[in-house]
Symmetry: C2
Subunit: 411 residues, 2 copies
């Protein structure tokens, strides 16, 4: 490639999505590419020519190091769905016009399922119109639900935060000498795939029994069975933490969080209090069993806790960005970089590439065989899969007691 | 002292309450005290003779180091209120009987307001009955609301966690290029005192504007004014995070969280169980202004996040425990160790002691002069006060990707 490139971030941010930007930038500069543009707020911003020259931020190696320690999407993100090509040629033409204007030969898009659809549409359009520009996807999602790739950058860090925080919550919840059992319900992200909720199991070790139960969205959720499970746990343990996916569903297809509004009542303005499934289930435990109970929702904190990111995850996110540039230089387009686990013991990971048509809009769930028969735990196979992904730390640069971040503008 | 001592933990745990146990143990051993007992689950467990010999856990210096990195109350905690002496002499006699049985000359109790009441009652009883045993309080509370002491061990670490996490949430919330403003309401602990909520301001710096507004319980909360504030913020900023104390109250005395929640009951001290003002206020923003909004509650995570504890806080918690032993050896009783800031620039802190009668059951709030006139921020004086308390880190010992803890038994 003789021209320039552009990189963008899309979808829900993660703790290491910026490490992939750093990887794209570093590999491009190493290859002698002159300009590495960043699109602000993904393809939505690109359509408005909101471009920055990354030399302005990453020109020295300290910039790269701070970026690797910066949470969320440094360039800004978006949730923009490319329209069907038929009838919307103008949108596509505009994108290629801007690419040509800035002499951009390749676009790198860091994102999850929906973002890979953007790569698919743009590379399909380029192929149909015989355009030379290349489009390469870089995987990113805390949900870990992209197919083909062994795992997704972003997952390991969220999993490490969840395992660490669940372990700390177990310590806190277990510290009271109570007359009645105390059950803390921790609600974890992952609407359709239980990878993050399953990661709560990673806190188990010589000093911690781990969560007393783990409920994944891969299994139908039964309120009756849940109450039975909690009763049994309360009879055998003084204190317990249970991990529940935000996406657990009843057999009739309703999300458990949809049940919550009944018991929570309405507020002074007469509208229903929206609450998560953790609150709903905590209320059910209190009502049905009389136990002390509390709900904790990790919310967006679990995807933005870069202060506790996994070094393995940071390194792999960087590698995915870097190898995306190599793939484009090799002439590849319409692909996503994948992570390939070429050894399990000891863990070792390289990258590959895969046809974007086999990836966009598909979801990978936790395999049924990795869920225990009683449906409330995961097997050692899951632990063997996930544990290597949370290993290692990269100490933040602390200034005035808090981590320093790289920003385009302050928030 | 020729006899033994006992140490206990009481009330809500913190990230560094174990560092005070480590301080008591280390000073006692240095002074040649033979047995250092730990009471499991505070005075409630002591009454059942639930004692451990701390040599079994802290006998080597590695044990001390892991304990300093262990969240929550290693010994277990309780919320036990000593009954009035009149009519309950049996409870007091039982405590002194157990102390005599184990040749315990001094009791160290690490806790907040309610726990200091235990020290007051026991030392009053000892004085009335001419008993030689000494009772020394060691301050502990994330709420930072104990009087006399400059600040409380536990506060700095919770403040550091809050500042760091609010900063990460600001990055996350600000990353979307939205058509309508996005306001994230972060609910922070502190029933009557706004010290922790104010700590959200500590994330402000060259790379972060900090929270757009901070609502402390020291000021009367007005829903109308809140909606006005949010409207103004939404008109000037695309994305904002606001920090709200769980304890904000309307002019008629009702907690804001009561507007949207059924009564959750009271604890043994008559405190109302609070949760949910973030959800209530987030709902109001959505309904009244139509903004995108989200509530995040830091819950017990903010008091147990030892993985991000402040080294200053750990060291001061250790020092408070250590100096409590020195005070007892000097013959003092019916006192609490205080932290004394003997220099502000540069920050330096030593300890003192103070009559427990002037401390138990009093609360210290954020001074009015440290709250800005508009009531939605704190002044530089607050930052100067709080910032030194969050400085420094103590890297956890990571095993299999998560911090290793010291435990008496697994939870």
């Amino acid at each position: 490639m003789n021209g320039n490139i552009v990189v963008g971030q899309s979808g829900g941010p993660t703790a290491v999505i910026n490490a992939s930007v750093a990887g794209v930038y570093s590999a491009a500069k190493r290859a002698g590419i002159q300009k590495v543009y960043g699109m602000e707020h993904g393809i939505q911003g690109f359509l408005m020519e909101e471009l920055v020259d990354l030399d302005d931020y990453l020109g020295d190696s300290m910039g790269i190091e701070i970026l690797k320690r910066t949470p969320s999407a440094f360039l800004g993100t978006c949730r923009y769905k490319m329209p069907p090509i038929d009838g919307n040629e103008k949108v596509y033409e505009e994108i290629f016009r801007i690419m040509e204007k800035y002499n951009i030969e390749a676009m790198f898009y860091i994102g999850g399922n929906d973002s890979m659809d953007t790569i698919k549409m743009l590379s399909d359009y380029a192929k149909a119109k015989n355009k030379p520009q290349r489009f390469v996807g870089v995987p990113k999602t805390v949900d870990n639900d992209l197919p083909v790739t062994d795992h997704c950058p972003g997952y390991g860090s969220a999993a490490k935060y969840i395992a660490t925080t669940v372990k700390e919550v177990i310590c806190d919840n277990g510290s009271f000498g109570l007359d009645k059992p105390s059950i803390c319900v921790v609600e974890i992200m992952g609407r359709h795939a239980g990878w993050l909720t399953a990661a709560a199991s990673l806190c188990k070790g010589e000093d911690c029994d781990g969560p007393a139960a783990i409920y994944l969205p891969e299994r139908i959720f039964s309120i009756d069975q849940f109450v039975k499970d909690m009763k049994e746990i309360g009879e055998t343990r003084r204190a317990a933490v249970v991990a529940v996916s935000e996406g657990v569903k009843l057999s009739d297809g309703r999300f458990v969080c949809e049940l919550g509004n009944v018991d929570q009542g309405t507020d002074v303005f007469g509208h229903k209090q929206l609450s998560g499934c953790g609150n709903t289930l905590s209320g059910i435990i209190a009502k049905e069993l009389g136990y002390k109970t509390r709900a904790i929702e990790f919310s967006t904190v679990q995807r933005s806790a870069t202060h506790l990111a996994s070094l393995t995850d940071i390194d792999e996110a960087f590698m995915a960005g870097s190898d995306a540039v190599e793939a484009a230089r090799d002439g590849k387009t319409g692909i996503m970089v994948t992570l390939v686990r070429d050894s399990q013991f000891p863990y070792h990971c390289t990258t590959g590439t895969y046809d974007i048509h086999e990836i966009a809009n598909f979801e990978k769930c936790v395999p049924t065989k990795w869920i225990t028969n009683d449906g409330i735990n995961v097997t050692q196979d899951f632990v063997d899969y996930a544990q290597p992904l949370i290993l290692g730390e990269l100490a933040p640069y602390m200034v005035n007691g808090v981590p320093r971040h790289l920003v385009i503008r302050k928030n």
